[in-house]
């Protein structure tokens, strides 16, 4: 269908909202994205015509809902090129996916073992491992981030040793925009017999995700950061790995049979889906991934890269401004520091001008600590943003800086 920005913008009703009397300019897509009508309507239509609980009933409506839900699973499997629908677990989001796997690894990590993550992880891919290591007396080690916002693979090789039990890394940094070489990391890890977990929260909407090509052992993302509904996400895991992990929550479809003494758990993927699943969420997420597919990820990448270059150039004109994160391979996430100014002050003034932008530590305090910054001002763009919006933003930013200095 190609890339027609006006058609795309029309798909997103919220983009015509006014903020403080001004047109909304939404640049906080790293936090959550807006939803196209295709997604909103999919959810509504499900509740209007197909709603039912799944899996257990012998009536038609439930068969329909079950098929829809399982087809969403198959669609996701294909979208990220998994081998089988059995490798796709629906969760409520990235954070739950990480916690599920960390809980499973609780049995596999013992005193003295090591887990490696990077300094640029989001808290959601950091604190679960920190707490697991604390509980099991293992050591959490941090791969540092270089000046340009990338990591050094040779340093990773140095950190790996016979005690390393897992490497967990974000596919794309939510602060720096850096696309990490996850395929290469998997290769290094596997050469050492170590499994790899990849946090794809920032990747799924902005780059091609092919888990077979990456060859990671786990991958996860949230629907809401890729134009899908809230409350739904995905954990991908290789079957051999998912089979090694104990169930995370108990109840509902994850139970195969049970008596007073013991329980037999269901097979994959149901083993990890306790309780009534979020069927509407899964269908909505399928609709959002179809939306991405219909536009074409390559078109999206190309368009977003144009925006990134345009914005980067524009911003360079502002005095005292420094962009944190200059990897060659990055998505349109631009973290900004302006000398002598606090990001919170700038964000507050930008909000008055209708520009929605994130300030703070972006749930990545360890990275802020490493960068010695109190936080940044973060612009994170999506496929519906435009150069016009970037112009508005740059003007507003200049005005804010002016007011503050």
């Amino acid at each position: 269908m190609g890339f027609k920005i006006n058609t795309i913008r029309n798909d997103f009703p919220i983009l015509s909202t006014k903020v403080n009397g001004k047109q909304l300019v939404y640049f906080d897509n790293g936090a959550t994205t807006h939803k196209p009508l295709q997604v909103i309507d999919r959810v509504s239509d499900y509740y209007k015509t197909e709603n039912s609980n799944v899996h257990r009933a012998s009536y038609n409506l439930s068969h329909i809902a079950t098929d829809l839900y399982e087809n969403s699973r198959k669609f996701v499997a294909k979208f990220i090129n998994a081998n089988s629908y059995r490798e796709i677990i629906f969760t409520k989001g990235t954070t739950e996916s990480v916690n599920l796997v960390a809980s499973g690894f609780s049995d596999l990590i013992t005193e003295g073992d090591e887990v490696i993550i990077t300094v640029m992880e989001h808290h959601s891919n950091f604190v679960p491992w920190q707490q697991l290591c604390k509980k099991n007396k293992a050591t959490l080690r941090f791969l540092p981030v270089l000046k340009d916002g990338t990591i050094d693979l040779s340093e990773l090789e140095d950190m790996i040793n016979f005690k390393t039990k897992l490497i967990s890394i974000t596919h794309i940094s939510n602060v720096l925009g850096t696309i990490n070489p996850v395929k290469k990391i998997s290769e290094i890890a596997h050469n050492n017999g170590i499994p790899v977990f990849v946090d794809g929260a920032q990747a799924i909407a902005h780059t091609n995700v092919d888990v077979s090509d990456i060859d990671c052992d786990f991958y996860c993302f949230s629907g809401h950061k890729a134009y899908g509904p809230m409350g739904i996400g995905v954990l991908y895991g290789k079957e051999e790995w998912l089979n090694k992990l104990s169930p995370y929550q108990y109840g509902g479809e994850m139970i195969s049979s049970v008596n007073f003494e013991s329980t037999i758990f269901n097979e994959l993927p149901y083993k990890f889906e306790a309780g009534t699943p979020n069927v509407a969420g899964a269908l909505g997420m399928e609709a959002s991934l179809r939306y991405i597919q219909d536009i074409g990820m390559d078109n999206i990448i190309k368009y977003e890269d144009t925006l990134l270059k345009y914005a980067t150039k524009k911003l360079e004109n502002i005095k005292g401004l420094r962009i944190i994160g200059n990897a060659k391979s990055k998505i349109p996430v631009i973290s900004i520091n302006i000398e002598g100014l606090h990001p919170f002050d700038i964000g507050t003034l930008l909000d008055q001008m209708g520009i929605a932008i994130r300030t703070g530590n972006h749930c990545a305090q360890p990275l802020m600590e490493a960068l010695k910054l109190p936080g940044t001002l973060r612009v994170s763009l999506a496929l519906y943003n435009t150069k016009d919006e970037i112009d508005l933003f740059a003007d507003a930013l200049a005005k804010a800086v002016d007011m503050l200095t």
Binding site: S58, T66, S256, S257
Partner: protein, 141 residues
């Protein structure tokens, strides 16, 4: 008759019913007619898991062919089982595990066989194929 031919004969048989009641009445009749498994096989090791109704399945090997016997505590399930057996039994292992089951679709009972169903017929077909595969590996047939 090949599995394909037997499937076709079942489909033809059902073609004469034009409403669901007749179809199900016939299934129920089939289900009631058949004591299809030796009582001694109605034990836990022959039970197929994941079913709403309980299904027991046994496989014997008779010269070149697999012979299935089965039972269920639900009569409609039993009716469908008897169709499955009519089609699948007395065939070679390799014929069985290469067979498809679209005939169930064709007679309009497909809601019973979708892979996400909890009624165990899917598990039953799976189990039949597993038996056949095991026998194939053992006998090369």
């Amino acid at each position: 008759m090949t599995i394909k031919e037997k499937s076709q004969s079942v489909v033809d048989e059902f073609a004469i019913f034009d409403d669901w009641m007749d179809k199900y009445a016939y299934l129920i009749e089939l289900g009631k007619e058949l004591p299809i498994i030796d009582e001694k096989f109605k034990n836990d090791s022959h039970l197929i898991t994941g079913c709403q109704s309980r299904v027991w399945l046994h496989a014997d090997y008779d010269e070149d062919n697999v012979v299935f016997t089965a039972d269920s505590d639900a009569v409609i399930t039993k009716g469908i089982i008897s169709l499955l057996i009519r089609v699948m039994s007395d065939a070679t292992p390799s014929e069985i595990f290469n067979a498809d089951f679209t005939f169930i679709d064709d007679i309009g009972l497909s809601t019973h066989l979708s892979p996400t169903r909890a009624n165990g017929l899917v598990s039953m077909v799976k189990q039949m194929k597993l038996y056949a595969k095991a026998l194939h590996l053992k006998t090369g047939k």
